[in-house]
C-alpha cells in the first residue's frame, strides 16, 4: 500500500450513468493486481470524513513516470458526488493498491468472467491479465438496464464469447446472469469463474459453480471504514480450508477476492461463534 497525492489525468462521463477517473499514481499502477482496489479521499472539509474504496478498473503503465490507474463509479451519495466534481489536474489523495486480487490459474485454460452492474469494473484489468497469460476469456455481464452495463464494447473485445443480460431486457437476455451461466459454462468449456457484483449474484454464481465443480473467485464489497485493515468493519464470514470452522475475515486486506466456496453466504448478518485460525496464518 502506498499513500500519496496523485493527479487526476482525466475525468470523463462513462456511458450514461458512470464516471471514470484516471489518476496518475505510478507506484500504485506498477504494483496493482486485478481485483485490488484504491481508497480515494474526496476533497476534505466535508460533512463526511471517510475515504471511498473503488476497484481498479484498468492500469496504464506505458509511461513509467506517469503510470495511471482508472476507476469507474456511480454517484451513490456525497462521496461519489464530490469525486464526480473533480477535474483533470486536481490533486487527489489516494491509497493503494489494497487487498488480495484475483489469481490467474496455472493449469486451467478457460476463464469465465461474470459481472453485475458497476461491480463489473475489475473485469477489464482482469481480462487483460488473463489474455496476457494466454488464457481463453469469456464474459457474462448483467445489469438493471443497458445503461448500467459498463463498457460493453470493451467487454465484447475481451471475450471469446460475451453475453449480456438486463433486468428490463433493454440489452441482451431479458433476465439475470444466472439464467445464462449454465449454458455459458457448457459453451465455453469453463474451467475457472471470476465474479464481481452484488452479493446475491455472487452467492448464486458460487452455487452454480460448485454444482458444476468449477473453482470460483469472488470479489466482495463490504462497508469499509478504513480500507487498510485497521478497523475490522469490513469482515465477511469465511470458512477455513477444511470447512470445519468459520470466522469473520477482513475483506479489505484478506480480500476483497475470496474463494467463493469458502464464503458463508448464509451466515451474513448472523452471529458467529465458531473460531478457527485465520486462513493461511
Amino acid at each position: 500500500m502506498k499513500h500519496y497525492t496523485g493527479e487526476i489525468l482525466s475525468h470523463r462521463k462513462h456511458g450514461e450513468e458512470y464516471h471514470s477517473l484516471t489518476v496518475v499514481a505510478p507506484d500504485i499502477a506498477e504494483a496493482a493486481r486485478p481485483g485490488q482496489f484504491v481508497n480515494l479521499r474526496p476533497p476534505p472539509d466535508r460533512s463526511f470524513i471517510l475515504r471511498r474504496p473503488f476497484s481498479i478498473c484498468r492500469v496504464n503503465r506505458s509511461s513509467s513516470w506517469a503510470a495511471t490507474v482508472e476507476v469507474i463509479f456511480d454517484i451513490r451519495g456525497p462521496g461519489t458526488a464530490a469525486l464526480a466534481a473533480m477535474k483533470a489536474h486536481d490533486p487527489i489523495d489516494v491509497i493503494g493498491p489494497v487487498g488480495r486480487g484475483f489469481v490467474v490459474p496455472k493449469n486451467r485454460q478457460n476463464c469465465l468472467m461474470v459481472g453485475g452492474g458497476v461491480g463489473a469494473t475489475p473485469l477489464f484489468f482482469l481480462g487483460e491479465e488473463l489474455r496476457a497469460a494466454g488464457k481463453r476469456v469469456d464474459v457474462l455481464c448483467g445489469a438493471a438496464r443497458g445503461s448500467r452495463l459498463v463498457n460493453t464494447l470493451e467487454l465484447k473485445r475481451l471475450g471469446a464469447i460475451t453475453e449480456f443480460t438486463t433486468d428490463d431486457g433493454s440489452v441482451g437476455h431479458h433476465g439475470m446472469v444466472t439464467d445464462l451461466l449454465p449454458s455459458m459454462i457448457e459453451r465455453c468449456g469453463t474451467e475457472v469463474i471470476y465474479a464481481c457484483g452484488p452479493r446475491p449474484m455472487l452467492a448464486a454464481v458460487t452455487a452454480l459453480a460448485i454444482k458444476h465443480r468449477i473453482p470460483v473467485q469472488v470479489a466482495l464489497e463490504e462497508q469499509m471504514a478504513c480500507g487498510i485493515g485497521i478497523c475490522m468493519s469490513c469482515v465477511a464470514p469465511i470458512y477455513n480450508r477444511e470447512g470445519t470452522g468459520l470466522m469473520n475475515v477482513r475483506t479489505c486486506l484478506e480480500g476483497p477476492v475470496f474463494n467463493g466456496a469458502r464464503v458463508a453466504w448464509d451466515r451474513y448478518g448472523a452471529d458467529i461463534d465458531e473460531w478457527d485460525a485465520p486462513p493461511g496464518n
Binding site: 470524513i49 471517510l50 471504514a225 485493515g229 475490522m232 448478518g269
Partner: protein, 339 residues
C-alpha cells in the same frame, strides 16, 4: 517519511520526533518565517517516559503492522492495540459501520484473536518494531479481565495496560462496568493486583457523571484514565425502517464527538489534576490535539483519524511541534502552563 532519523529502542527517550522538520522554515502566524526554537515533545505518562504525547487509540490501528507500511511507528509515543480478550471473539454481524455527519458509528463487537495470539504474534512484531505498547484488555466478567491482565504480566514492551471497561458486565445484567462506580471499582482494583505496569481505566462518556466513575477508578488504583470511549448512537435505514448496524446500537467516533471528549477530559482533570489522562475523541489534527492537552490530557490518542489518513499521528506530532516552535514554547509542561 524519508529524512526522519529513526530512533533507538522502546522505553528510551529519543531525539527522533524533535528532529522532524527542524530545518524547515515554517511561516509564523503572520506569514513571516521565524527562527525555530528546539522543542521537546517527551512526556512522562504515569511514570513512563514517552518520546511523544501522541499515541494510537485502541481498535483504530489494527495490530500496528498494517500502519507500519505508511510510517515508522517509532515516532509514536506508543501503540495502543485493539482490546484483547481471554478467548478469541468473533464480534458482531455486519454491517458494522455507518457514516454519520463528521463521524461514524461502529459496532465491531471487539472482534479479536485473544491474548495468546497477541502475545505470540502481534506483540513480537511490535517489539521488533521497537515501539512501546499500551495493551488494551476487555472482558465480560471481572474474572476475565483479571486473567487477561495476568497473562500480560511481564510482557516485553508493554508499558501500560488500558482496561476497556465499556464492556457489558454479564454479572450485572449486561450493564457496562464503566456505567457504575461500584463495578468500576471492583474490576479496576482486581486488575490492578495483577499488574507490574501502570493501569489506565478507559471510561465511557455515556454516564451522568464521568467524574464519579473516574473517582471510583482512581480510588481502585488506576494510575491514569483514558477518556473517552465512543458515544452510544444509532442510525436507521429509512428505506427499510430497520437499524443500519447489525449490532443495532453503535459507538460514535470522529470529529462529531470532540466537544464531548474535551468536556470529559476537562471535567475529570479539574477534579483530579494529578491523574494523567490519555485524551481522545475526534482528534484529527494538531489543533484538536492541542485542545485536548489544554483541557488537561497528558497524552492524546488518535483513533478515527487513522482511517482517513494513516499518517495522521505523525502529522499531528509535527503540527504540535510547529505550533510550539512558532510560539517559543520549549516543552509540553510549558505548553500547558501557557494555557
Amino acid at each position: 517519511m524519508s529524512g526522519i532519523q529513526s530512533g533507538p529502542v522502546v522505553h528510551q527517550e529519543t531525539e527522533t520526533v524533535r528532529q522532524i522538520d527542524r530545518n524547515a522554515e515554517l511561516p509564523a502566524r503572520d506569514g513571516r518565517p521565524v527562527a525555530r526554537s528546539p522543542v521537546d515533545l517527551s512526556v512522562m505518562l504515569a511514570g513512563v517516559p514517552l518520546r511523544s504525547p501522541i499515541v494510537s487509540a485502541s481498535g483504530c490501528f489494527g495490530s500496528g503492522r498494517e500502519v507500519s507500511e505508511f510510517f515508522d511507528l517509532r515516532h509514536l509515543g506508543a501503540v495502543t492495540v485493539k482490546s484483547m480478550t481471554l478467548e478469541p471473539w468473533q464480534g458482531k454481524p455486519t454491517p458494522r459501520m455507518v457514516e454519520t455527519p463528521s463521524g461514524m458509528l461502529n459496532a465491531i463487537g471487539l472482534q479479536n484473536k485473544g491474548v495468546e495470539y497477541f502475545l505470540q504474534y502481534d506483540l513480537r512484531w511490535l517489539n521488533s518494531a521497537k515501539v512501546p505498547v499500551i495493551a488494551s484488555i476487555a472482558g465480560n466478567t471481572k474474572e476475565e479481565f483479571v486473567r487477561v491482565a495476568g497473562r500480560l504480566r511481564g510482557a516485553p514492551g508493554v508499558i501500560a495496560i488500558e482496561a476497556n471497561i465499556s464492556c457489558p458486565n454479564l454479572e450485572d445484567r449486561n450493564n457496562m462496568f464503566s456505567h457504575d462506580p461500584k463495578a468500576t471499582h471492583a474490576v479496576i482494583s482486581a486488575i490492578r493486583r495483577e499488574l507490574d505496569v501502570p493501569l489506565f481505566a478507559k471510561l465511557s462518556p455515556n454516564v451522568t457523571s464521568i467524574t464519579e466513575i473516574a473517582a471510583a477508578a482512581v480510588d481502585a488504583g488506576a494510575g491514569g484514565l483514558s477518556l473517552i470511549n465512543t458515544v452510544v448512537g444509532m442510525a436507521i435505514d429509512v428505506e427499510t425502517g430497520r437499524p443500519a448496524l447489525g449490532g443495532v446500537m453503535g459507538g460514535l467516533s470522529g470529529p462529531a464527538i470532540r466537544p464531548i471528549a474535551v468536556r470529559a477530559v476537562y471535567e475529570v482533570h479539574q477534579a483530579f489534576p494529578d491523574i494523567p489522562i490519555i485524551g481522545m475523541g475526534g482528534v484529527m489534527n494538531a489543533h484538536d490535539a492541542l485542545e485536548m492537552m489544554m483541557a488537561g490530557a497528558t497524552a492524546v490518542a488518535v483513533g478515527t483519524a487513522n482511517f482517513v489518513n494513516p499518517e495522521s499521528a505523525i502529522e499531528i506530532t509535527k503540527g504540535i511541534e510547529r505550533f510550539m516552535a512558532d510560539r517559543g514554547i520549549r516543552n509540553l509542561a510549558r505548553l500547558k502552563r501557557s494555557a
